[in-house]
Each structure stands twice: as C-alpha cells, then as structure tokens.
C-alpha cells in the first residue's frame, strides 16, 4: 500500500496561476470522499476568495485494470467486465462490446434480438437519466426528486431482473444476440412502465422548473461554447445542449435504430439548465422508441445461427454430434475471430461510447480499449467552472453526469 502523496505547489507550478505561488490565491482539495463529486473524483481548486480560478481534476481512484484483465480472458468471459465500468449503463456497455465482436467476426444478429436490445438499451438510458436527475437534484438541495426517481428506477430494475435475473449487472446481450429470449411477462411489464412514465416525467419537471432556487442555480452557469465542445471532443447531452444535434443513434445508426422515429433533443445555451432540459427531453424520446420497438417486436430466434461463434441450443446437443462438438469447443476454447481491428460506437447516456478491439486470431482479445464519454467530458470541467463560485461547481459536476468507473476503467 502506498501512502497518500502530498503534492507541493512547486510540482503543480505549470497548472496554477502565479498568484498561487505567492499565496494570494488558495489551493483547496475537494474529494475523493465528497458528497457531490459523484464517486471518487478529486479536484484541486485554486480559489480567489470564493471565485474559482482554476480546477485541476485528479482521477484514477477507481482504476480497475479492466483493459488488462480482458486481455487474459476469452471473448465471452471478458464481457462480464464491461458491465462494471460504467455501472449506470451496464447494458449499453454490453451492447458496444457485442457490436465490436460482431463487427470483428461478421456475425449477424436476428431482428428480434436487435429490437429487444433497443428496448433494453433505452430502458438503461432512462435508468441512468433518472439517477442523474435524482442525484444532481440532491446536489442542489432538491431532496424530493431523488426519492421520486429512485422509486421509478425500481420499475426498470425489476424489468432487468425479469429478463436476466440480475438487477444491475445483467450481461444479457451476448455476441450474436441475447443470452435467451425474454420471458412471458416482459411485454406487460414494459407497457406498464410506459403507461406510468410520461406523467412522472412531467412531475419531475414541475418540481424543478418552477423551483426558483433550482433555476437560479442552473441558468447561465457552466456555459461552454460549441467550438470548445468540438475541440475537446465532447459528446452526448453536453454537446446537444450547445445546439449541435449530434446523436450517433441518428448519424451512424446501429442495432436497427434507423427504423425508429424519434427526435434528437437539442437546446441552446450550453449551460447547466440546457443540459437538464436535454436529458428530460431525451427521456420522453426514449419512451417513444421503446413503444415503437415493442409494437413491432418481430417473432423469431434471438441468437445468430453461426455455430462457430454462438453455442447451439440445449435441445440440439442431445441429437446432433456436430452441435455437441461446437458446444464443447466454444466453452473450452472460445471462438477465434479473424486477425484485425475494429472500432464500434454507440450513443451512451453520457455521450459517445466506443470500443476499439484488436484480435490476433486467438480466442482472447489482443487489446480492448473503451473510449468512454465520462473521461472526455470531465476534461472540459475546468473550462466550464472558471470564474464561478465554488458552490456552482457542484451544479456543474452534476450536470456533465460523470461516472467515475467510466472515466477510470
């Protein structure tokens, strides 16, 4: 165990202003254990009185070594790791991992599996946005929203539990389709949720939009310009709040998103309030997508028929020698995609989530790198926070919706 390393101002000389060296401004440490850093983020803040001069984020307190561990496991086993990196978007992480493997191996995914993937991915987006709404409301002292959103999250987690047996870390999407078909009560549970949700979203909006304290603390705070968004490679609700309609579900559709009719939520202003509006609009659009996908849910298989990559169904193993061999080979060695490298992207609740995957022809991935939106978006925090009060910083950290597991991996 290493000790806590005390950093001197001398070492951070290139990051702080001249005034910090003379002691005119103060360096303040915030985190890693702080109620409003949404995890284990540490910020070194240079303060002039209560005005923020500069912010030096320090991440890595949740560095899990996921990329290294994936290299030592087979493709099927590594998928378990991906759930746990962005723990508010577990199914989205599964999705991007599966898309990368499918691109690498040129696997086909049946229609039904794609539709169910869309439904569950959108439910995950709602789940993430609900938690974001609750916790960032909590940061601004709006306690009641937290209790309401956590109540609705239970509906979604019950649906996840129904389909996979786990509330959060489902690993339900597998390369080539799904783990298994959804159970009987799935459609009813989702329809029930769809019936409840629009009214509840309006309820949250009413609580916050007419709350003068909330509006005062979010409007005009943490503004970032569209040019900076592009230069810093930001994505997701942060860039859409600057008036750029960039949504990978529309621009580079995956998993059949091109079939659904939905609008990209865009707001002007680029402040905390605009990001809040974007996410709230997105929740409504997600409900629209889920409803469409549920209405046209096709019948059929949920796993690819490619036996070199996808294990055969249990019933086939008893009667077919071929199936038995495939089953044995897949579970002892794993499948072996061709040599090459691919880059798959999805739109996660936080922005562009990419997966760079390189194969050397063996049954283990040679290198997997997750391009995570929290890492990229967090980098722009100093830009948004400079010149504001330290209390506004809390609102800004909440508004960019970081998940430290996603940033540190």
């Amino acid at each position: 165990m290493t000790d806590i390393r005390e950093v001197s101002v001398e070492e951070l000389r290139h990051l702080v202003s001249e005034r910090a060296l003379t002691g005119e401004t103060m360096l303040l440490n915030m985190g890693p254990q702080h109620p409003s850093t949404h995890g284990v983020l540490r910020l070194l803040i240079e303060l002039d009185g209560e005005i923020v001069v500069n912010i030096i984020p320090d991440i890595g307190f949740l560095h899990t070594g996921i990329e290294k561990t994936i290299e030592t496991k087979t493709y099927e086993k590594s998928e378990v790791m991906t759930d746990r990196q962005d723990y508010l978007n577990p199914l989205g992480n599964n999705l991007v991992y599966c898309l990368a493997v499918e691109k690498l191996a040129e696997l086909d995914v049946p229609e039904r599996a794609q539709a169910i993937r869309v439904i569950l991915a959108e439910l995950t987006r709602l789940n993430s946005h609900l938690l974001w709404l609750g916790t960032s409301g909590l940061d601004l002292a709006a306690m009641s929203v937290f209790l309401y959103t956590m109540r609705e999250r239970e509906f979604i987690q019950d649906i996840f539990e129904l389909v996979s047996g786990q509330r959060m870390m489902t690993t339900y999407f597998r390369p080539g389709g799904l783990w298994r078909d959804v159970p009987e009560g799935f459609e009813k549970a989702v329809r029930n949720f769809l019936a409840i949700m629009p009214r509840r979203i309006k309820e949250y909006d009413d609580i916050l939009r007419f709350n003068e304290i909330f509006v005062d603390r979010t409007k005009g705070i943490g503004v970032i310009s569209a040019e900076d968004c592009l230069a810093y490679g930001l994505s997701g609700p942060v860039i859409r709040a600057c008036g750029i309609p960039h949504d990978l579900r529309k621009k580079q559709p995956y998993s059949g998103y091109e079939q659904y009719d939905f609008d990209v939520a865009v707001e002007e202003g680029g402040d905390v309030y605009a990001r809040y509006r974007v996410r709230l609009k997105e929740m409504t659009q997600s409900l629209r997508i889920i409803e469409q996908a549920l209405n046209r849910l096709p019948k059929g298989p949920v796993r690819s028929n490619n036996r070199k990559y996808v294990p055969p169904p249990r019933a086939e193993i008893g009667v077919s020698m071929e199936a038995l061999i495939h089953h044995f080979k897949l579970w002892t060695e794993g499948f072996k995609p061709p040599v090459g490298h691919v880059y798959a992207t999805t739109e996660s609740p936080r922005g562009e989530l990419g997966c760079y995957m390189e194969s050397d022809g063996s049954s283990k991935p040679y290198r997997v790198h997750m391009v995570t939106p929290s890492f990229v978006n967090l980098q722009a925090l100093p830009l948004m926070g400079r010149g504001l009060y330290i209390a506004d910083l809390v609102a800004i950290i909440g508004s960019i919706d970081i998940v430290l597991g996603d940033a540190d991996r």
């Binding site: 995890g39 560095h63 899990t64 790791m81 597991g405 540190d408």
Partner: protein, 160 residues
Amino acid sequence: MGLEQKTGNMGIVTTKLEQVVNWSRTGSMWPILFGLACCAIEMMSAQAANNDMSRFGMELNRASPRQSDLMFVAGRVSRKMAPVVRRLYDQMPAPKWVIAIGDCASCGGVFNNYAILQGVDEIIPVDIYIGGCPPRPEAIIHGVLTLHDKVRQEKLKDWA
C-alpha cells in the same frame, strides 16, 4: 410478582449497562456518506423510498468521517484509493464498524489484477461481508441487521 414489576410501576427498569449501551448503539448508527462504485448505487436504492433503510436508524448519512460510526465500503478499492480509505477509517471515532458491500470489497471479485485490492480487509478490519455483484438492497439491509446482532453481543470488558 417480583421486584421488577414493583419497580417497573414506579418507573424504574433494571437491566445491564452492557445491554443499554449496545441497544443505544444499534438504534442510530450513522453511516459515512461514501460510495466507491456500482454497489454505491444499490446502497442508494436501499436508502431510497422503496427499501427505506431509515427504518433501522440509518436515515442520516454523514459526509464527515468524524461524525459517523459505520463505514460502508461500497465497491472496488483500487491501490490508489486504499490509503484514502484507511485515512477515512482512522478519522472515525471509536466505536466504529465496517461493512464490506459486494464481492469486490470482500475479496476482489472478478477483478483479480494489479489495480484492485483483493478485499478491503487488507487495509481496514471488516465486521460484516455482504456477497453479491452488486448485492440487492434487501441483502444490504440484512447485512446491517446482522451487524446490529453483532453489536448487541459486545461485552463491556472489551470496550471499557
């Protein structure tokens, strides 16, 4: 018709000091507001309306370790985070207890590699381990109740 009832009618209850102290300690255990990873989300679910951990005297999460007597280690502890966790533990006033939520905090879980501590018990003593990845809110509440049982059994000679 013993002495107890007679004194009871007069408003006097006879009991052991040990029991009173242990009872009062279980009644309002204040956890430190400290989440690390995935399990922190389930910990929040356990504290939110549906599961409502405040039924067991846990409604108040203190952001400062100086005011709390229970630490939930909710999630994986990395090598970089380990000294911070130890320092937080050191700052908590005695008596203090630790619950390791989830597989990662208990034993490293699926992450057996260079970056993650193989169980938080390498750096701080743990009272209760809760299994699951992540454990359900009910499991977390069960862990808390198990800790209450443990506290009720503490002996006066150990802490006085």
